[in-house]
Amino acid sequence: MSTQTDSENIFDLFSNGAVSKRSGSSSFYQTRRLAMPFARPSIAVMDDESPRRTDSLQKPPSDSSAEAFSKMAEDRQPGFLSEFWGFLVQNKKWWLTPILVILFLLIVLVIISQTPLAPFVYPFF
């Protein structure tokens, strides 16, 4: 069975011409990416498996991987920034970075504008 790769860009996905162009492909199924059990996929037991690989899902975990999972579950939850950074690295979604930075700055601005520091924000505009 032929499958599409991850190479298609997001603008193709939202193309309005999906039907008028009538794709010559015989299938639109995509091979599944690897799934990871925590919010951020940075688990030692699975480090050797990239989430972007295009072959099938992980092999059944061995006894040791079940133990490793249990051990990791005992850890403290990583912080939000650390988790998100891990997500960007793992998925190589670097283009999201400027959007996130701008969003972050906007949030900081909103927070500061509600504090006594508000007058000092005006010089930035």
């Binding site: 069975m1 499958t3 997001i10 603008f11 996905l13 939202f14 193309s15 309005n16 011409g17 999906a18 039907v19 008028s20 009538r22 794709s23 492909s25 015989s26 299938s27 639109f28 199924y29 995509q30 091979t31 599944r32 799934a35 059990p37 925590f38 919010a39 951020r40 099938s56 899902l57 059944p60 975990p61 061995s62 006894d63 991987s65 079940a66 999972f69 249990s70 990791m72 579950a73 005992e74 850890d75 403290r76 939850q77 939000f80 988790e83 998100f84 997500f87 998925n91 979604k93 999201l96 959007i99 969003l103 949030i107």
Partner: protein
């Protein structure tokens, strides 16, 4: 002992599930406690109930899992906004603050909601992985193909793979925005019903129409391949950038504007419903065939919101693509809570799985039970007149007699169902042989649209005598639609059109026979259904008819009742004739303060 809590929340149908050493101990949707239909909030009450069922506190939990991956979903949102900019700006400003404040911080939110007592890491599985786990792990199959179909999770809108032993492996998926669930929801909105809850209505409306627009859908809306995969022409839809499912172009294509809610349903919308149902079934069948060919499996497990399309499920079964299919009864997002919990137990902790002849879902009777004392407290507080019938056989006979008299009986007994269907624990029962029963229950008890069909609960051993069912086939979760046996059908007046077709008695059991001679069957067996089996058996003994009308114990727009208080209130505010609260029976005529007073 290992205790695992699964949670689905923050979108719709939030729920909690508790596993103890891999066994499903408790499961419930938050809406049943909060009384907010499809409640999207954190399922605090459902969690409390699950823990109390096992006598645990949050500090006793070994693992807590969430049914999807928020970062991946956020990535999809951002990519969608970039791809559609600037069109999605309104939607962007509506959605992003919630994400920044809450949905991106789920570990913090959940830890807070659990009272800070759970200190370990949270586990996050992908949305379709959760659905797949909920489809395969409770099933009675050693190995099976898995197919999940829904609106959208992170990116995936459908996926398939294989389950073997204690592992699942999903290999292929379809991606947003191309989604069978969202396609169906778009038509749901076009026909004037609410997205995420009105899909059942669209399915019930479909048999009244003709699939006149199916070709138009294939021609303009989707590019469907032989393997069931497809792409949608997004110029007809607005859900990627707007706050609506469909665009003006969609309305122009079908020649009529979207139907206003509560307005009269014309034949046009019936034909639309029939058309999208036909297309949906075709996609489901093609997907199933492809999954069978690709995986080589002869059994299928289904989950995801689209798997609640029991007409489609029945079609897959009838086509004989698989020898057997098993559908997760909580196939909506609530079932994701079960999926993540079972994924942790089997897939991540590598515990073995021994499927038996019967699935391990326990009849999906996994919610709270209220004992005699609780029911007594309710009736005493309300000053209700009641009779105490301690013997189960006597009680079952009493209910059967009332049904035979043409009365409508509310039944609240045993553990509450997990999933959207009432399966005999929180049900309204009636006589399927009555020609007026469907209209009566729809209009005077449930206060809902007259066209909506009712399901039969039939004794498993008699199902094949009344419906087109293989003698070994069962449908304990009311997730398969089939035809009433031809020998039970009556010649119908084909000149009737639209909703007038409701006036025609089509079979010996008109109250549960839809206008196309179909029925959404629930088979009842003593192993799963206990007392409810006795009720149907008593009706059979009394009348020779081994089935009753079974519809959910609620009124339109409200969640199914959970407690005796809610059951009593529903009983008194409708024209229901009798109520059974565990071993207490109440008759409307004996009460004060009902509708008659």
């Amino acid at each position: 002992m290992a205790a695992i809590l699964g949670i689905s929340a923050f979108y719709h149908d939030s729920a909690a599930v508790l596993l103890i050493d891999g066994e499903i101990v408790a499961a419930a949707q938050e809406e049943r406690f909060s009384r907010v239909k499809n409640d999207p909030g954190f399922p605090a009450r459902a969690v409390d109930y699950c823990l109390s069922e096992a006598g645990l506190t949050t500090a006793d939990l070994d693992h807590v899992g969430f049914y999807d991956k928020p970062f991946l979903k956020f990535e999809r949102l951002l990519e969608t906004y970039v791809a559609t900019a600037p069109l999605g700006i309104r939607s962007f400003f509506k959605a992003i603050p919630i994400w920044l404040q809450q949905k991106l911080h789920l570990p913090r939110e959940m830890r807070r909601a659990l009272g800070g007592a759970y200190t370990k890491r949270f586990v996050f599985t992908e949305h379709h992985e959760s659905h797949a786990a909920s489809a395969f792990f409770p099933s009675p199959f050693d190995e099976a193909a898995i197919l999940t179909l829904d609106g959208v999770g992170e990116w995936a809108t459908a996926s398939f793979g294989v389950g073997r032993g204690n592992k699942i492996e999903l290999t292929h998926e379809l991606h947003f925005p191309h989604s069978l669930g969202l396609l169906y929801s778009a038509f749901t909105q076009y026909c004037g019903f609410r997205v995420n809850s009105g899909e059942y209505k669209l399915m019930g409306l479909a048999p009244f129409g003709e699939p006149k627009f199916a070709d138009l859908i294939y021609e303009h809306l989707i590019d469907l391949k032989g393997d069931g995969s497809f792409r949608m022409d997004m110029s007809y839809f607005d859900y990627t950038a707007g706050l609506s499912m469909i665009s003006t172009k969609f309305e122009n294509l079908f020649g009529e504007p979207r139907r206003q809610a509560e307005s009269e349903i014309s034949e046009h919308y019936m034909d639309i419903a029939a058309s999208v149902q036909a297309v949906t079934e075709e996609i489901m069948v093609r997907c199933a065939r492809h999954v069978r060919e690709t995986t080589g499996m002869n059994k299928l497990c289904l989950a995801g919101g689209v798997a609640l399309n029991c007409v489609g499920n029945g079609r897959i079964l009838r086509e004989g693509i698989f020898d057997d299919i098993w559908v997760q009864p909580a196939s909506n997002d609530a079932g994701g809570a079960l999926g993540v919990a079972q994924f942790i137990w089997h897939q991540l902790l590598d515990h073995s799985r021994s499927p038996g002849k019967i699935d391990s879902q326990k009849g999906s009777l996994l919610g709270p039970r209220f004992d005699h004392e609780s029911c007594l407290e309710t009736v005493n507080r309300e000053g209700a007149r009641f009779t105490h019938l301690e013997s189960e056989d006597e009680r079952a006979r009493w209910i059967a007699e009332r049904i035979n008299e043409g009365k409508v009986v509310g039944l609240m007994q045993g553990r509450m169902e997990f999933g959207p269907r009432a399966l005999g624990s929180r049900s309204i029962l009636g006589d399927p042989r009555s020609e007026k029963m469907q209209r009566l229950i729809n209009l005077k008890i449930k206060y809902r649209e007259s066209f909506r069909p009712f399901a039969p609960s039939v004794l498993r051993e008699n199902a094949s005598e009344w419906f087109d069912f293989d003698p070994n086939q069962e449908s304990p979760y009311m997730l398969l639609v089939t035809s009433v046996k031809e020998s039970r059908q009556k010649t119908s007046d084909d000149r009737a059109k639209g909703l007038d077709r409701l006036q025609v008695a089509r079979s010996e059991i008109p109250a549960v026979t839809h206008v196309n001679q179909s029925a959404r069957v629930q088979t009842v067996d003593p192993e799963r259904h206990g007392f409810y089996y006795k009720v149907v058996a008593a009706f059979e003994k009394l009348t020779g008819c081994p089935l009753v009308v079974n519809t959910s114990f609620n009124v339109r727009g409200e969640p199914i009742v959970c407690s005796p208080d809610e059951a009593y209130r529903c009983f008194m505010s409708t024209e229901m004739d009798a109520l059974v609260l565990e071993d207490l029976v109440l008759v409307k005529g004996d009460q004060k303060g009902g509708l008659d007073d």
